[in-house]
């Protein structure tokens, strides 16, 4: 049965494997290209930094920057390609899984054998999922290998941002699984490959936008970080800044926008207006008016893996629901 599931989807899966190999080639090529440049500019002997920010010395900085900047674009392309690629491969492989059986009428063969519909559905999906998910995990491994080969500069920034978050960890296979499930069930309901691809792609893109731009920030309530008037900015560069403002002594975050001027306008006097931010009297006045400092609402970097697990769980549930609809349709509603 596994042989049949593979043989029957062989052309589609080989095409998917081809795309996966091209992606792998891209990741590995730029990994070696970057390391070649690191070696040729002798960055190793200057003790490679963990991040761009921790470099010391103007000369080193310029050499390092030229390497990073040179490969920044490629890394961005790689991340985008991985995330979009995983979803596109998933949708295309998924949509052709069952829709083509209807287009070519071969479902009449498959469904009239001794094998049950449920086993047919599950085996076909599992074989395709093994190939697609295996492929995107290989992408992630290659990307991580590239990204970690010269410090963490590619990984440690914008951890939760779209394309950064999904190109690591559990999120990428979760997106691929969801796209595959949508394509498969969509193909089963729509029965035509191309319309099923269009519909599934639209849904995947919508869910991706909704999750990465909005929902992800609300997996857990953000943490309020207090920054004293003269204290250093406590926020690390990896955390995601959701909101910033003045912090009141009641723990409220007050935006520095219009309409709140009555709070601090009285503090802006003629003598300190020239250098407002640096003025002790200004901050003293602000403190008197009940503002204790700056407040930052952040999702700390330490939550990265928690969020990965939560997003993985979310997409696992979504995929199971979509597959459940497909299975129900196959068993109860098949026309």
């Amino acid at each position: 049965m596994i042989w049949f599931a593979w043989r029957q989807q062989r052309a589609t899966l080989l095409a998917a494997i081809g795309v996966i190999l091209v992606g792998l080639g891209y990741l590995l090529y730029y990994r070696f290209a970057m390391m070649g440049e690191v070696t040729s500019t002798d960055l190793w002997s200057r003790s490679l930094p963990d991040t761009v920010a921790s470099t010391d010395g103007p000369e080193f900085r310029s050499v390092a920057d030229s390497v990073w900047v040179h490969f920044w674009g490629q890394a961005q392309t790689a991340r985008t390609g991985m995330v979009v690629g995983a979803m596109v491969i998933g949708v295309c492989v998924g949509a052709s899984m069952f829709a083509r059986e209807w287009e070519q009428q071969t479902y009449l063969v498959a469904l009239s054998q001794s094998v049950s519909r449920a086993r047919w559905f599950v085996t076909k999906f599992a074989v395709a999922a093994a190939v697609v998910l295996g492929g995107v995990v290989l992408w992630e491994l290659a990307y991580a290998w590239w990204a970690r080969s010269a410090g963490n500069w590619m990984l440690d920034q914008y951890l939760f941002r779209p394309f950064y978050f999904e190109s690591q960890g559990l999120a990428l296979p979760a997106y691929a699984l969801f796209a595959l499930a949508l394509g498969a069930s969509g193909g089963l309901l729509i029965r035509r490959t191309v319309p099923a691809i269009v519909v599934a792609a639209a849904v995947v893109a919508g869910v991706f936008a909704g999750v990465s731009l909005y929902l992800r920030w609300h997996y857990l309530p953000p943490v309020m970080v207090t920054v004293p008037w003269h204290g250093p900015r406590s926020m690390d560069g990896e955390a995601h800044l959701m909101d910033v403002g003045y912090l009141s002594n009641t723990g409220q975050l007050i935006h520095m926008g219009l309409g709140k001027g009555e709070l601090w306008n009285p503090c802006v006097s003629v003598e300190n207006v020239a250098s407002v931010a640096a003025s002790d009297s200004y901050y003293g006045c602000m403190t008197q008016r009940g503002l204790v400092g700056f407040g930052e609402m952040v999702q700390p970097a330490s939550r990265f893996w928690t969020f990965q697990v939560m997003e993985f769980g979310l997409f696992l549930v979504l995929s199971a629901a979509v597959l459940g609809v497909g299975m129900w349709w196959l068993r109860k509603r098949l026309r």
Partner: protein, 311 residues
Amino acid sequence: MTVMRPAIAVRAAGLGRRYGRSWALRDCTFDLPEGKVAALVGANGAGKSTLLRLLAGVLTPSEGSAEVFGAEPWLRGLSGVGFVAQEKPLYRGFTVAETLRMGRAMNPGWDQAYAAALVDRAGLGMRTRVGALSGGMRASLALAVALARRPRLLLLDEPLAEMDPIARQDAMRTLMVEVAETGLGVLMSTHVLADVDGVCDYLLLLDRGRVLLAGETDDILAEHRIVVASHRAERTDFGPHRVVRTQVSERQVTALVRRDGELVGDGWVVSEPTLDEVVVGHLLASAQSDSGGSAESGSEAAAQSGSGAAA
């Protein structure tokens, strides 16, 4: 000696299937005993393919129920039933050998040696791609895949349509050998009755989604008579016998009659019809009744007006 009631292979009760608003099959009720070679006959669009697909479990009914060997055919895989759809669909990218491997992978009782022998007899190379086969060869391969499952019942939708005369004969011979040796039952649709005449022992006649006739061919033939009566004799008074259809010419009335007991009349010439005559008579009567009320009054109207279409 006790008479064993034959086991029922297919039991349909009020079976119906709707596509949108139009019914492809409606109120279909019949029992098909095990081990019969049954012809499923009807015009195009009569519901033959729909019925076979319902029985093969690739389509779910809109109403009524069907049992194949005592179980509903859909929802689970078919056991003991082979099905070849009208389009003879097979995976076009597969080779013949891969097609047989598929059969083996998906059916526990698969008989590989038999499959290979059938394929060989049909002159198919194991390495030929299905897409490169002619329509008739593909039909032979599809039939081999269905047969090698060693089913107890074979559902065939126009199995011979694309075959050349020799392949047709060969396929029918293969089927009949299976029937004789293993007690295989066959339900095959056709609109060429000549293909199955003399072979089938059960007839299921469909017309626009409804069952017109269902039963053993011998019984059906024994029930029906063609009566030729002189025109001036009693016109349509056939007593208790049911007139299926009458044709009136200037000199005589020819009627297909479903008799009830002895059929004798003054000046009547009574003969046994062929299966083809029974089928065509019923189909034409049904077509007439469609425009003129019930079957009974339709045939009477046809008899009186003398406007019956020629068979």
